[in-house]
């Protein structure tokens, strides 16, 4: 391995990459477009929060409930209420036992179960308790003690409700990384098809030098764009090292995929044909973050799940190394397996 030779090859690859108008344009426009999409999304959560209520008996006071910014929706069962909270339809759910009204009128302390979504903020929890007290007041005309039993449904991220743009952030970052699969694959397939690789390999540069140079060029493009995007949109304000590590591992994943596609593709069109399905599949886990409930648990089989989950949790909820190390480890494992496969396939093609 010769750093001087590798440096020359990286410089050459980056130069050729940006002279390909298609990739130069999608690289620059990609960042701009994603920034536009990000900043066009609402920067704050919807002012009106929906709270679900289940009560087996009719309580006249419900009709009088009117809190600014809160909307109450009655559901028909506690199970339905729990599921709606898990699915994110309600920020919280209040389940009243059948004897609530009787207890209230009798001046006894009724017990109330309250369910919260994973990312319900503390102020919402406080607000819901106040609402329940008001309910008691509206029903009896006097302040009453109520036993409130709280239950957080799903993984408690203990953070704030996410503005749509922040939910979208991991998706956009991952898309920026993924697109570089095509860029690198095109560089590799062109190198093989035009036989410039033969000219390189009769110089003192070795196959390893060429692989490393391609890897560095690809990682620089993929990681560089994603890191730049995250920096601009504030995605590095929390746990920047964790986020950057995840993005770097994601970039390596993409480079490995680029090696494989570059080895099997014959030209730019076949690179596109191979890349698009791969990119679409790998982006699916990001949709689970951007649009909760849209994707089921099978996405955990995809390596990018561990990338977007880490970026989401670290950048949006401040999760540290202790929370995401398993994700990073699994992602690194996928990287190793794919990189090994990519190098093997490419080496075979070059022969």
């Amino acid at each position: 391995m010769n750093p001087r030779l590798i440096g020359s090859l990286v410089q050459k690859d980056l130069s050729i990459f940006f002279r390909n108008r298609f990739f130069a344009i999608i690289t620059v426009l990609g960042i701009i477009a994603y920034l536009v999409v990000y900043f066009a999304m609402p920067g704050a959560v919807d002012d009106t929060l929906e709270i679900g209520i289940y009560s087996p008996v009719s309580i006249p006071a419900f009709a009088k409930l009117d809190e600014e910014g809160l909307e109450f929706v009655v559901v028909s069962s506690e199970e339905q209420l729990r599921q709606a909270v898990i699915d994110g339809e309600f920020i919280a759910g209040i389940s009243l036992p059948p004897d609530t009204l009787t207890h209230l009128i009798a001046g006894k302390r009724p017990g109330v179960n309250v369910f919260f979504g994973a990312d319900a903020p503390p102020e919402i929890k406080d607000a819901v308790v106040v609402v329940i007290q008001e309910l008691g007041y509206a029903a009896t005309g006097q302040t009453l003690d109520i036993d409130v039993s709280e239950e957080v449904l799903g993984l408690d991220l203990g953070g704030t409700p996410l503005p749509p743009r922040d939910r979208l952030r991991p998706l956009l970052a991952v898309m920026l990384i993924m697109v570089e699969t095509m860029g690198l694959a095109t560089l590799i397939s062109a190198e093989i098809e035009r036989r410039t690789i033969n000219a390189l390999l009769v110089t003192p540069a070795t196959v390893a030098d060429v692989f490393i140079a391609k890897g560095i060029a690809g990682i620089s493009l993929a990681f560089g764009q994603a890191a730049l995007f995250m920096a601009i949109v504030g995605g590095l304000s929390q746990q920047p090292l964790v986020v950057l590590t995840a993005l770097l591992l994601g970039a390596i994943l993409v480079i490995a995929a680029g090696f494989i596609i570059g080895a099997v593709a014959k030209d730019m069109l076949s690179v596109l044909a191979w890349s698009l399905p791969v990119i679409i599949i790998l982006i699916i886990p990001s949709l689970a973050i951007a649009f909760p409930g849209s994707v089921t648990g099978w996405v955990e089989a995809l390596p990018t799940h561990y990338l977007v989950d880490t970026v989401h949790r670290a950048s949006n909820f401040g999760s540290g190394w202790g929370d995401v190390w398993q994700n990073l480890l699994i992602l690194a494992g996928f990287d190793l397996a794919l990189a090994w496969t990519g190098v093997a396939v490419l080496r075979r093609r070059m022969r």
Binding site: R4, L5, S8, L9, K12, S15, I16, R19, N20, R194, R195, T196, N198, A199, L200, L201, V202, T203, P204, A205, T206
Partner: protein
């Protein structure tokens, strides 16, 4: 004289196809060897083995005294290779192409413009290669192959399909490199070019070397000299006549030609390398 290239029983198979069949030869330092043969004869495969691009299935190749398979990187640093197929970075300029390879070979300082001038591309260095004609690209390929002042220069069909001006420019560079002391391994199926440039030529056919000698010796051994004449026939048309030279019967045959026929034109003709190749193999160089 030291040998720059030595091949011992070199053999290569592509699956069931025996492309190169146990060939042995050597090329002295400073010599130009013309490697002639029709397409598919095994010339390019031989070059690939000699330059370390592929490993021989059998036999050994020594370049500058080193076994190429064991010293690939060390040997390749002293080789210059001009490939049969144009393989330049077309999105880059000529200067950028040359500078990239100069860095890879560790050539410093490097004057790209001077080299471009030498191959007749002065003033075009900052143009992207994709805008070049075939001849210009080929000249740039040759420039790239000599930028590290190689001790052994491999040129694989360097003038194939080029216009006479570009071909002549490349031939001049080959001669300049020989003057510098480089050994040149010239693969071609242009017998005129090989005849003009080579100290010796090797004929390759179906993976084997069927003849290897100086062009003069090959012509002496396999060729025949003749007098070619055009004579008037009784209808006023022209007919060809041939008198074989270097035969005891030649003086009498010439005398009879002039006494019996009305000779319009007459000239001597020497066998070409192509004639000799056909004579040896029964097939032409260009098929």
């Amino acid at each position: 004289m030291n040998q720059a290239i030595t091949a011992e029983e070199l053999t290569y198979r592509y699956d069931n196809l025996l492309a190169v069949d146990h060939i042995s030869f050597s090329v002295a330092e400073g010599e130009i060897l013309g490697f002639l043969g029709p397409n598919g004869a095994g010339k390019t495969t031989t070059v690939k083995m000699l330059t370390g691009q592929i490993k021989p299935k059998e036999g050994r190749a020594y370049l500058l005294g080193m076994d190429i398979t064991r010293n690939v990187e060390k040997v390749q640093g002293q080789l210059g290779i001009c490939f049969e197929v144009t393989n330049l970075y077309e999105q880059m300029t000529a200067v950028e192409n040359l500078r990239l390879f100069a860095r890879l070979f560790g050539v410093h300082p490097f004057d790209a413009e001077a080299l471009l001038e030498r191959v007749g591309l002065a003033g075009r260095g900052k143009d992207r290669v994709e805008t070049y004609s075939k001849g210009m690209k080929q000249r740039l390929m040759v420039a790239r192959s000599i930028l590290n002042r190689p001790k052994v220069l491999f040129l694989d069909e360097p003038t194939a399909g080029l216009d006479p001006t570009s071909s002549e420019a490349i031939r001049n560079i080959i001669l300049e490199e020989r003057e510098r002391g480089a050994t040149v391994f010239l693969t071609t199926h242009d017998m005129m070019e090989a005849d003009k440039l080579s100290h010796r030529v090797a004929f390759m056919n179906q993976g084997k070397i069927v003849a290897l000698d100086t062009p003069h010796n090959l012509k002496q051994k396999y060729g025949k000299r003749a007098l070619k004449a055009k004579v008037l026939n009784t209808n006023g048309g022209l007919e060809d006549r041939e008198v074989v030279m270097d035969s005891p019967e030649t003086p009498r045959a010439v005398q009879e030609l002039f006494s019996r026929e009305k000779v319009v034109t007459i000239h001597s003709e020497e066998a070409t390398l192509e004639d000799i190749f056909i004579n040896i193999t029964g097939r032409g160089l260009v098929e």
